[in-house]
Subunit: 234 residues, 2 copies
DNA sequence: CGCGATTTTGATAATGTTCAACAGTAGTGG
DNA sequence: CCACTACTGTTGAACATTATCAAAATCGCG
């Protein structure tokens, strides 16, 4: 092996800084278009010619695909900083729809293709998405309904449930409240379940004291680590 | 919208040619290492420091992830031309294992990072993989066992079952024989099913006259279009 | 308060899993 | 060449999980 992980890390750090800054420069420039969306507004449809790439600035959105008989699979859930609208074949492979009111930046494909620093940033984002899709495939292919919902909830607790999880702060109650940007139907379509199953799992988790529901979309996780142990991943 | 799909296509074509050629140049150079693998040999493990990127030259391979209790999800099946071993966090997120005897090219991450033309090629490959993962998420999240196996089989018929499928040649028997590079267990772990269910679906397809099995891993598809209609996608 | 939409709950059905036994296949060595 | 063995794949029966269908409860909002 040519160099160790430590050496990779140090060489990667300045690269990231460099591309982040080029990206920030681009977004400040007049070329980037800023779009405001209401909740549940489609940004583009599967099959539309792919002319722009987008970045979520505020709020959240999703990408989904439909089967001819109407079954839907939400393939990605997007938050601030996430990019989407990449393509290979000239058309979008998914439909993009806002979940909450949100602001997205639209970037002309042309601008990216001619600016290596922007390309680097884009590549980084695509790699992160591919990584996330691998995890999601495990969830869809091998996890039970309970594990899927647990994994889903932990996703909304920053820095937890992922590799290098910081764990609970010693001695403290490890309680966190998360705001879900999605309806039960959207959660179901993301997790490959039905709306009823999602609802039943939420109720089951409540009965077991793992969570409590302040509102339908406000979930208090009683103990993040306990829930994490239900996710199948740990 | 700034420009039409047609304009995107023509601008994309020369780009592809340019990166393909840089890629071919790199592979001919002494920097690319050529590795020979037997069937079922691991190339790297989930968690290993990610120092190189790979390309399949001959044969096929897979990427999989394991849950702590041993459940496995095969997240990608790779054939000639496919790249793998990308990372975001410095370590591989999957284990890579050959399915058949195969030859892979190993490319130092450093070489790619310093050569924009190689980066473009890599970005293209990652985008294609992301696209494939979206389709796979639909399969795992929303398709029945029968549809999953049908989709899987069609995957091995070049130019069919995908967007812009050429369809059967008029008047001809639309029969094709495919060689599966995977065992039933591997297919099951790829499709999010059990080995028994995969076996039962194969038998069911045989009884219905959709396929015939010359050997366990040689499947004759009686009529590609009929099978395609069973895949849920069309 | 009352209406429409979303969510929850219940009863039943279907799909796929699990566990167990059996069959086919390939490889080995007498 | 055939018997033996180990492995992979197939089939069957019982079971579990999740889906489906139907109804009740809750929420959001004018």
């Amino acid at each position: 092996m040519a160099y160790t992980q430590a050496r990779f890390d140090v060489s990667a750090a300045p690269l990231a800084t460099r591309t982040e800054s080029a990206w920030a420069d681009y977004l400040r420039s007049s070329k980037a278009r800023r779009l405001s969306l209401e909740a549940h507004e489609a940004l583009f449809f599967e099959g539309d010619p792919a002319e722009r790439v987008f970045e979520v600035a505020e709020g959240s959105a999703m990408l989904y695909k439909l089967l001819p008989d109407g079954r839907r699979q939400v393939v990605e859930v997007l938050g601030p900083g996430d990019m989407f609208g990449f393509d290979v074949v000239g058309v979008y492979d998914c439909t993009a729809e806002s979940l909450t009111p949100c602001i997205v930046h639209a970037i002309e494909r042309r601008d990216i293709e001619t600016a290596p620093a922007l390309q680097e940033h884009l590549t980084r984002c695509v790699l992160a998405k591919l990584h996330a899709m691998h995890d999601h495939a495990v969830l869809l292919g091998r996890k039970s309904a309970f594990e899927r919902v647990a994994s889903f909830l932990i996703r909304f607790v920053p820095q937890r449930g992922v590799l290098g999880c910081v764990g609970p702060t010693a001695g403290e109650e490890d309680t966190r409240t998360v705001e879900l940007p999605m309806t039960r139907q959207e959660i179901a379509d993301y997790l490959g379940l039905t709306i009823e199953t999602v609802s039943r799992v939420f109720s089951d988790m409540r009965r077991r004291g793992l969570i409590s529901l302040e509102k339908h979309d406000r979930v208090m996780i009683r103990d993040v680590c306990s829930l994490c142990r239900c996710s199948g991943t740990h």
